[in-house]
């Protein structure tokens, strides 16, 4: 079933666009904000989408950036009321066209037709997945132990933690070298706990947690950070799913405490788990706002 996704915070506008596309005979699906937009993209793989550039909290450009981070390429038509943003928006990756709100009646349908004609059957581009043999063997066996995913860009830190935790022989340990890999691996292995560094290039720990929230994956996250910056800590704690915060320098010093913290996370009360799940189901866009720094301008 081929689909077109229309993302706009105004219901009136969504209806106008749907009417314009009606002659194409595609199923039209909607999203009211950026988070819903991303979820719809992931759930339905639309042929293309129209994106309102100006949306509260998570604007169109940020949305595209997040889709890029998780490796999804859905062609987009940007719609904006801001003349000066038009040129810049058209240059963003995967943006096919950017048009002004006042011109949609004339232009939108023909751009849509072009996209459908040129769509390469739902744009199959392959994604490379890289798994160390140790982790592959974990996957071969039946899932009997809890899974812990370690995300840290410092190789030595990662190696130490993997070795220490594997030694306990209590959980399956997986690791990822940055936030993006962590994100991809998390969706594949569905960990019971993510232990993540905060300061990492490109997709940092906070972004990682934000994106998991946006996609609706309620994996508990424990942050590990060298930061003593109160703002970072406050932001990290504002996120849904973040259950614990541990100072990096304490990992080796207070090893036993660290392991206890992991254990207590893994033995979380099922009721609490259900509650987190429920919170991820409904979308609270302000959760993203409180944790800050998501917005990018264009």
């Amino acid at each position: 079933m081929e689909k077109i996704l229309v993302i706009d915070d105004s219901a009136t506008f969504r209806n106008i666009i749907a009417k314009i596309f009606a002659p194409l005979n595609y199923e039209i699906i909607f999203a009211e904000n950026g988070i819903e937009g991303i979820r719809q993209c992931v759930n339905h793989s639309p042929t293309f989408m129209t994106v309102d550039l100006e949306m509260p909290v998570l604007n169109g450009a940020t949305m595209m950036k997040i889709l890029g981070m998780i490796g999804l390429e859905v062609p987009a038509i940007f719609i904006t009321g801001d003349e000066s943003a038009l040129v810049k928006a058209a240059k963003l990756p995967f943006v096919t066209a950017a048009i002004h709100k006042s011109k949609i009646k004339e232009k939108l349908i023909s751009i849509g037709q072009d996209l459908i004609e040129n769509s390469t059957n739902r744009h199959f581009s392959d994604f490379k997945y890289d798994l160390p043999h140790r982790e592959f063997v974990h996957l071969l066996g039946k899932r009997e132990r809890k899974r812990v995913l370690i995300v840290d860009d410092a190789r030595s830190m990662r190696a130490v933690m993997v070795r220490q935790l594997e030694k306990l022989n209590l959980f399956e340990v997986y690791d990822a070298a940055d936030g993006r890999e962590g994100l991809l691996k998390a969706m594949m292995i569905k960990p019971d706990l993510i232990i993540s560094d905060i300061e990492m290039p490109f997709v940092n720990g906070i972004r990682l947690a934000q994106i998991l929230y946006i996609l609706g994956h309620p994996f508990p996250i424990m942050f590990l950070s060298a930061s003593e910056d109160a703002r970072v800590i406050r932001q990290a704690k504002a996120l849904e799913g973040v259950t614990h915060f541990f100072q990096k320098q304490d990992v080796t010093k207070k090893g036993a405490e660290f392991v206890m913290a992991i254990k207590s996370q893994l033995e979380m009360d099922p009721k609490k788990k259900e509650e987190i799940k429920r919170k991820y189901k409904c979308i609270d866009i302000n959760k993203i706002k409180d944790s800050g720094e998501m917005e990018i301008g264009i």
């Binding site: 759930n43 793989s45 998780i70 997945y129 071969l140 066996g141 594949m188």
Partner: protein, 327 residues
């Protein structure tokens, strides 16, 4: 807690006592299926296993380990010197010991095996299609169906047909090996697989899933109307039934069957899981002569040993196998 482990399969108390002198935790298994599962669970540094066992023996276990590039050395215990030549068919660095030598030589042999370095194994590099990637990222509760067929045409026909329903997340793989990896990564709710495929065929794959204790419900897709598959295979709980390729032409019927099988697998889920958990090797024996078990590997004691007829042997000859997946 000690992190280093030795897995001992069907060994007596004396042997265990000797092994515990090596300063490792010794984990015991009653047969090779349980043994293989413990190997996956503990990733031991050494395995000491009986070679001959009914239905699923030590060599078969070693072959599956090789298939997945698990390099742990195995010391086989047996009663006959003749059995040593079986090791020639394995590429790993394995050892061999007669039962009467255990007292005198086991400790020395084990120490030697432990001191030899293992070949490093690369990373599994695996490609996932973007559409599949999107389905993996999704938190919507769609049922996942994995379609395995070496014919691109049949695969596409199935996918396009099911895609119209718009209610499943669809994944595909090109043969049994590819299917195993993908199934492990995506955890499908149903596997629809061709029977005859190069590398690893549908039945062999289903048996490996059984040995690994991965309880995926499986439906076979075949063009052969004369099969008596249901008779042979229905004892393994995960195998739900057969769809004929000709039935693909009738879309409504095909859709209905898929829905029925998904329901079946849900209703019987607990039973399937229990069945797999028990890992009764007799279930493999039922199929023994005809399938994967044919040939050298999984044969019963006393049967003649004929190399070259085995699926995995064929794999090795063709240079295929999981080795290609590991960069």
């Amino acid at each position: 807690m000690e992190s280093k482990t030795i897995v001992a399969i069907q060994q007596d108390e004396e042997t265990i006592k000797i092994l515990s002198k090596l300063g490792c935790q010794v984990v015991e298994a009653g047969d090779c299926i349980e043994g293989l599962r413990l190997i996956l669970r503990h990733q031991p540094i050494l395995v000491v296993s009986i070679m001959k066992m009914p239905n699923f023996n030590g060599i078969a276990m070693a072959e599956i380990m090789e298939l997945f590039q698990i390099q742990t050395p195995i010391i086989f215990t047996t009663t006959s010197v003749k059995d040593q030549k079986r090791l020639n068919d394995l590429s790993g660095n394995h050892g061999f010991i007669l039962l009467e030598q255990i007292q005198s030589r086991l400790l020395e042999l084990a120490t030697k095996k432990l001191s030899e370095p293992l070949k490093p194994v690369g990373h599994l590099k695996y490609m996932i299609r973007q559409r599949e990637w999107a389905d993996l990222s999704s938190s919507a509760d769609k049922k996942r169906i994995l379609i395995i067929d070496d014919s691109a045409w049949v695969k596409k026909a199935c996918m396009m047909s099911l895609d119209q329903l718009d209610s499943y997340a669809l994944f595909s793989a090109k043969d049994g090996l590819d299917g195993i990896i993908k199934a492990l990564l995506i955890q499908p709710d149903l596997i629809l697989t061709d029977l005859h495929m190069p590398n690893l065929d549908g039945l062999a794959m289903s048996q490996i899933f059984f040995v690994l204790n991965q309880a995926f419900p499986i439906v076979f897709l075949t063009g052969d109307t004369n099969h008596n598959l249901s008779e042979k295979t229905k004892r393994i709980g995960g195998i739900l039934g057969v769809i004929l390729k000709a039935e693909l032409r009738n879309q409504a019927l095909f859709h209905q069957k898929i829905m029925q099988y998904l329901d079946d697998s849900e209703v019987n889920h607990d039973e399937i899981v229990r069945d797999f958990q028990k890992g009764n090797s007799e279930l493999l024996a039922e199929n023994e002569k005809k399938m994967f078990l044919e040939g050298k590997g999984l044969c019963t004691p006393g049967t003649e040993f004929r190399p070259g007829t085995h699926h995995i042997a064929a794999l090795r000859k063709g240079g295929g196998g999981l080795g290609d997946f590991f960069g």
